[in-house]
Amino acid sequence: MIFSRGTKATAAIAAAAALAMVATGCSQSPAADDNGPITLTITTFGTMGLDGLYAQYEKDHPNITIKATNIDTGGNALTDWKTKQAAGNGLPDIQAVEEGWLGQVMGVSDSFVDLRDFGANDIKDRWVPWKLGQATDPKGRIIGYGTDIGPEGLCYNSKLFEAAGLPGDRAGVASLLGGPSATWDKFFEVGKQYHAATGKAWYDQSGFVWNAMVNEQAEGYYTKSGDLNVKDNATLKGLWMQLADAAKSGLSSNQSQWDWGGGKAFTDGSFATFVCPGWMLGVVKGQVEAAGGDNTSGWDFADVFPGGAANWGGSFLTVPTTSKHQKAAAELAAWLTDVPQEVAAFQAAGTFPSVAAAQSDAGVTGPSDLTKFFNDAPVGQILGSRANGVVAQFKGPDDSIIQEQVFGPSVKEIDSGTDGETAWNDALKLLDQLVVNK
């Protein structure tokens, strides 16, 4: 009896001790030493084209092991980053950050390492100036190294164009839409011709078009000084009404974005044009291939974009201050954004380099799997030409909320036949609810 009670007490004490160890155990960590063997963690998302590069870096730096995590979409990656940022725990040594998050990132820019402490000043001339400007916080700290930018060109299906009696070659399409002075008016006008000839839609859905329209303005949802710029904005309203009219005329295929029926919409002739920033080329290729298509499906890439030069997306590599190996992480980030690596990433995923020297590199301008898919279009050269005249737009703290939650429902409305005025007013109502009176 006594014996058994004794063991029970011992067991209880042991259990309590074990619990205490669990509670305190996670705070222990080995001392940081960047020269010894270290593990760097990196979190990326979507198709950034970096995955093939880590092995080479590990080979050149035997003391470094890279543990990479790739999150499927930018949206999920944003949630992941925000959760960990809010918890102040679990962030990787290198965090990839998307342009659309910048408004939120800059609000907490102090929690990112100032890369000038690790040699950013020596390499900052690498990038096109506006990209570097985006990564610089209001206090002048450089918190990110640019990977890619998203100059927008026009993907189109040459087979569908020719079947509708329109020119199918790249130069012909570019001049049909107005060449360097292409406008949305002209784009929708040709779309109506196409629709009249075929009865089919011109573009996949209105969301990406609206995105492009907003992104190519000097000031988008916010003014340069950070004030909301939606209500009473005649430019945006005018573009919106144009878009609503186009959708009402049957130019939108009303597809669900990022889904496209598993890519089938790209191969069954549902629509003939598609808004294509550099990184989207890899997405189009992936969608077409998922639906069983290939380079004979007719997709091509033209050096023209309605409304002028536009940029959509592009990313940065940042080092959170929670990193225990800030120096090593900054070195890896600098290496990943150097010319040869950005060229390799472009060849893997179509992410157009933000480093000027890489943009004109033969690896970017020359042939690749991507050029083969797009009917031998010189995609690197075209993107380089599309990048001319791009200006960085200020992204406010609620930019992505306005894009997705304020205009998202209204975009779906005009695609389903609601008139532009009603949809615009619905968006303003949501703006009041979600952003102004938050």
Binding site: I2, R5, G6, K8, A9, A12, I13, A15, A16, L19, T79, K82, T83, Q85, A86, Q104, G107, V108, G207, Q255, S256, Q257, W258, D259, G261, G262, K264, A265, S270, I401, Q403, E404, Q405, G408, P409, K412, S416, Q433, L434, K438
Partner: protein
């Protein structure tokens, strides 16, 4: 002076050996140590977050920027006046109702069928639990594909029959029906097995004597089976209610590419999803905490109502039984 008497006992107590003292402490305190792990864990992951969430809800609190000013119950006031909040509550209850009611009816029917003398009993019983084994994420992905508006299997079949395609991801009711289908697919078999266990416990001789008295299968089901499994049925209803008010994965992943969780018009955004959106997309932690507390209170209220109802039903049952017994006794007297 009077304390002298008290002091006198102290030396006597200290005369106990260490071993005896340990034994005494063991008897007195070790039970608390045994139950401690649960309470420590509950305090850590249950009680503390609950209290902390309440503190958060009283502040202006941005997810990334951290706590702002103390604003009392302003977050609660704002949420109770927010049409989007009430939209989420209405969606939650409507999805709950269109999922729970058919689910429980089908579970009852399946359990009744499984309760019969079937060949390969274990096979059938295993089969109904299979959907439960599949993770909700996989279920949501498959159903989301089936219910695709342009390329989904369901709409293809409808169009094959010459009907109009249904806008599962744009219109409110079809979307909620599709989500209810997912929930039902997953939970019907699970509930059927619990009900089956209760049915198996009903004494077979009651059925036999009823059969001899001339009661048909339907009559036996409604007059014997259902009253006998009532307590289990109430348990199933309560768990289905709590689960139904916390539906998250299915609406979150039904249209995963949607820019707004729960449908582009929030047409099937449940309250838990609204809470998540508030915290992690809109970044308003204070309001999200307030929503969490309101939802908690709603669930507590529904739990209490459930409890009172089930107590009334249970006592009603015993009253009926005693009446029945009285009747049994009557002819003898």
């Amino acid at each position: 002076m009077s304390s002298l008497a008290g002091r006198a006992t102290t030396p006597r107590a200290s005369r106990l050996t260490l071993r005896q003292k340990l034994g005494r402490w063991d008897v007195r305190y070790s039970p608390y140590v045994y139950i401690a792990p649960f309470f420590v864990l509950f305090g850590l992951v249950g009680l503390f977050p609950l209290a902390y969430t309440f503190v958060v809800s009283l502040n202006k609190w941005d997810l990334l920027q951290g706590p702002g000013e103390w604003i009392g119950f302003d977050n609660f006031r704002a949420e109770l006046a927010d049409p989007l909040f009430w939209n989420s509550i209405a969606n939650t209850f409507s999805i709950f109702l269109i999922s729970a009611i058919p689910q429980l009816i089908f579970a009852l029917i399946i359990a009744a069928v499984l309760d019969q003398n079937l060949r390969a009993k274990t096979f059938w019983r295993m089969s109904v639990i299979l959907p439960y084994v599949v993770t909700p994420v996989a279920v949501a992905l498959i159903f989301s594909n089936l219910f695709g508006e342009k390329y989904g299997l369901v709409n293809n079949m409808l169009q094959g029959l010459g009907l109009d395609p249904v806008l599962w991801k744009t219109d409110a009711l079809p979307g909620q029906l599709a989500i209810a289908t997912m929930v039902n697919w997953r939970w019907t078999g699970y509930n059927a097995l619990i009900l089956l266990a209760a049915m198996q416990a009903v004494p077979r001789d009651i059925y036999e004597s009823a059969a001899i008295d001339g009661a048909g299968a339907a009559r036996r089901f409604f007059s014997i089976t259902i009253p006998s499994i009532r307590p289990t049925f109430i348990f199933v209803i309560i768990t289905a209610t709590i689960g139904g008010l916390q539906i998250f994965t299915e609406p979150k992943l039904f249209d995963a590419s949607s820019s707004i969780p729960g449908g582009v018009f929030r047409q099937y955004q449940t309250t838990v999803l609204y809470l998540w959106d508030m915290a992690f997309n809109r970044g308003n932690f204070g309001k999200a905490a307030a929503i969490a507390w309101i939802l908690f209170l709603i669930i507590v209220i529904i739990g209490v109502v459930n409890f009172l109802l089930s107590r009334r039903i249970a006592s009603g049952e015993s009253a009926r039984l005693s009446r029945r017994e009285r009747k049994k006794l009557e002819p003898r007297s």
